[in-house]
């Protein structure tokens, strides 16, 4: 691993240039503007290249082998990712669980988990949702009972993205069934998926892909030292990164990719002579332009190091709604070809109409459905009474 440098000391242009050169040289061309998430098996080479450069953890502090980028440099990093069309590898470990371990974990946990996570040896998935705890996450029932030095875990997680690609799962489990508020009896556990008693079963989605899974726990024994934060305080731990997640999920990046794709196809099909199409296309384009302006407001707040308020939920609502509308228009643009899976040659432009459509579909469901985001906004931003 290359020695960690102080990237924040570079001026913005120099840093941007360095990132740009690296992406252009190392990022596999066939994965540019990928319309879905990358899988670890296909992105291993890219991950290793980042790790060798010391760039696998842009958001991680240097003491843990990260780049230690401040908010301003982080924005440049993300802008360059967007510009070059760099896909998201299975980065839950780096984006989510790593920072959680740094903030709430013990020294032993940091030592054991962080380095392999950065290397991509530990690949993480998020075990939050359950069959009866989706939007109402705090109703989760997967139970962890203390037995000597272990938690004994029984229950089921579902919609666990890429669990079949993962080596580890970070979970919310119930450790106190008697707690007065349901949020209070929950703990945050790190679990090795190789533990006996754990079964991962992929679920086929409407795209025909196996991206999310069920994870079954049948008296799986997990060492007690895998508890992060205090017992029964897992809700606090999980909430810590929510604001940042909503900023990243509300980025205009995904709809911008879809727009670029739609524009290429529309041009190839001569649709810019169709006034009806143009009005819809431009309306969506402006939806993204204005989303970008709104997004920049929150980025500026994050850059100043201030906490993001509940109104950041707006970004997610608008980004996902707009993204979906674009992919719907893309399918429509394809006419009969739009509903035939696979790549099509549209007057020299290769495109897949259905993959972006399917990829955008759960966007309004995951990460707190858009309806849940609206509930949050109604209560905490508009101050409306609860239902």
């Amino acid at each position: 691993m290359a020695e960690s440098r102080d990237y924040n000391a570079l001026n913005d242009d120099a840093f941007r240039q360095e990132v740009r050169v690296f992406f252009e040289k190392e990022y596999p061309a066939e994965f540019r503007y990928l319309l879905r998430k990358g899988r670890m098996s296909e992105m291993r080479g890219w991950w290793d290249a980042q790790y060798r450069r010391g760039w696998a953890g842009p958001n991680w502090p240097r003491e843990h082998g990260g780049m230690g980028l401040d908010a301003g440099k982080m924005v440049i990093w993300l802008e360059e990712i967007e510009r070059w069309g760099v896909a998201r590898p299975p980065d839950q470990g780096v984006v989510q669980v790593g920072p959680i371990i740094m903030q709430y974990g013990t020294e032993a946990q940091k030592k054991y988990f962080l380095e392999p996570t950065l290397k991509g040896e530990f690949v993480w998935c998020q075990g939050y949702s359950e069959p009866n705890a989706g939007s109402d996450l705090a109703s989760l029932r997967t139970e962890a009972v203390i037995d000597g030095d272990h938690f004994v875990i029984t229950g089921q997680k579902i919609w666990t993205t890429m669990a079949h690609d993962a080596s580890h799962i970070y979970t919310l489990v119930r450790t106190d069934k008697q707690a007065k508020k349901k949020q209070e009896g929950i703990s945050f556990l790190l679990i090795d998926l190789n533990t006996p008693g754990i079964l991962v079963r992929p679920i086929r989605n409407i795209a025909g892909h196996e991206e999310f899974c069920e994870v079954f726990f049948d008296k799986a024994r997990v060492p007690r030292d895998r508890l992060v934060g205090k017992l029964n305080d897992g809700w606090t731990v999980a909430k810590a990164l929510l604001g940042f997640e909503r900023l990243s999920i509300g980025s205009p990046r995904r709809p911008q990719y879809a727009l670029r794709r739609l524009e290429m196809i529309a041009r190839a099909k001569g649709l810019f002579d169709d006034a009806g199409f143009v009005d819809r296309f431009i309306a969506l384009k402006l939806d993204i332009e204005d989303l970008s302006s709104l997004y920049e407001r929150y980025v500026a707040i994050a850059k100043r190091g201030e906490a993001l308020g509940p109104d950041v939920s707006m970004l997610k609502i608008w980004a996902m709604d707009t993204w979906q509308s674009l992919t719907e228009l893309l399918v429509e643009t394809g006419a009969e070809e739009g509903v035939v899976p696979g790549e099509h040659d549209i007057n020299g432009v290769n495109t897949d109409f259905l993959t972006p459509f399917y990829y955008a579909r759960p966007g309004t469901i995951y990460g707190g459905s858009n309806e849940i985001q609206r509930n949050i906004m109604a209560k905490y931003v508009l101050g409306l009474p609860g239902h």
Partner: protein, 382 residues
């Protein structure tokens, strides 16, 4: 402190002062009740209040300092217009100080500008831009109103429609066909043959139909000729569109505030209606539209004030006018729905906002027109 930091803090100080002046002004008695009283009257605003606005410096925000103005930007103008729109202030600040003021400012006739601009700043002169002859026109490039040489002067004949701020104006910057080209000519309202007839609009304010019948003005009244007219008009139209966006933002903000407040207090089925998800989610969607408008306005005004090419100004103005027209009409219409029957009464204020938003949305091109213009002008994605 670096220069740019110093500039930024001076800028926010200026902005804070303007915000304060708007608040003071509103508290001094320009409120919705006054707007109601002036509905369906001619000229529909109060010249004494106009003089107060000039005292605050608002008429001179966009006028250069060497012409007696404050030499500030659209950001400052936008703060004032957005604030005034919240209480439906009827004085035509945007039409006179932005639309007419910018057209005059961007013209080449130094001597005439030195006369008109300081008078505008002082509140003594209320100018209007008389350019439009047909509904839906976006650029005013080919006026039919004619100006002909007449005994060493110019004689003008023709008609201008939809002249905002045209009633009670002291003079008109009129676009005319002259020698086969276009000219912008200053015509005092008092000149013989000038008449302004009220054109009532949905919001109870009247635009004017301005008729010129053999009006004779000296050649020195030509503000600009040829391509200079097109450039001055384009600048005036686009800057005004952005400022109409600010007015729409103020209009929708107040209508939404009223609606959210109503949702907290109106009880049906034993609960405040804001506790019902169908309404709560509707309000959130409207809030989102308002915030998109506000974020776009801030970003666009910042870019314009830094200095942008005419082409870029046009693209940005269309982007903002499309968003704010769409959002402003939608938020204010749905505000009626949230209120139920009371929202449809003339007595309740929310309908005044709906009608105001409709008029502002139609002025200088509605959302559809601007999406079409944006499509024709905006560069393709890389």
């Amino acid at each position: 402190m670096t220069t740019s930091q110093a500039a930024a803090s001076a800028d926010s100080e200026q902005a804070a002062l303007l915000k304060q002046s708007v608040t003071d002004f509103i508290q001094r008695g320009t409120d919705v009740a006054r707007a109601r009283k002036l509905r369906d009257t001619v000229p529909g605003f109060d010249r004494k209040v106009w003089a107060q606005m000039a005292e605050f410096g608002w008429t001179g925000i966009l006028v250069p300092e060497d012409s007696g103005g404050l030499g500030l930007g659209l950001r400052e103008m936008g703060i004032v217009l957005e604030g005034l729109a919240r209480v439906l202030t009827p004085e035509p600040l945007n039409a006179a100080a932005v639309l007419a003021g910018t057209a005059i400012r961007e013209s080449g006739n130094r001597k005439l500008k030195d006369e008109l601009l300081p008078a505008l700043v002082e509140g003594k002169l209320l100018p209007a831009l008389a350019w439009q002859e047909q509904a839906g026109d976006l650029d005013g490039g080919s006026p039919a109103l004619s100006a002909r040489p007449f005994e060493g002067a110019l004689k003008l004949s023709g008609e201008k429609r939809f002249v905002q701020g045209g009633l009670g104006a002291d003079g008109y910057a009129v676009t005319a066909r002259l020698d086969g080209g276009v000219a912008l000519i200053w015509v005092p309202a008092s000149a013989g043959g000038v008449s302004a007839e009220p054109l009532p609009q949905a919001d109870g304010r009247s635009a004017a139909t301005v008729r010129l019948k053999d009006v004779v003005v000296p050649k020195a009244n030509v503000l600009a000729e040829g391509p200079a007219v097109t450039a001055a008009l384009q600048r005036a139209f686009d800057d005004t569109r952005v400022m109409v966006g600010a007015e729409l933002l103020g209009t929708m903000t107040r209508a939404l505030d009223m609606s959210v407040e109503y949702m907290k207090t109106r009880v049906q089925f034993g609960k405040p209606i804001g506790s019902f998800q169908a309404l709560a989610h509707r309000a959130v969607n409207l809030h989102l539209q308002k915030e998109l408008s506000s974020a776009a306005l801030d970003a666009i005004v910042a870019e314009l004030d830094r200095g942008a090419s005419p082409e870029r100004r046009t693209v940005l103005a269309s982007r903002l006018k499309a968003r704010c027209s769409e959002a402003g009409t939608r938020v204010t219409r749905e505000a009626i729905q949230i209120h139920g029957a009371i929202g449809f009464t003339d007595e309740y204020d929310v309908g005044l906002y709906t009608k105001r938003a409709m008029v502002l949305a139609a002025w200088l091109g509605n959302a559809h027109a601007h999406r079409r213009r944006y499509a024709a002008l905006a560069p393709a994605e890389e």
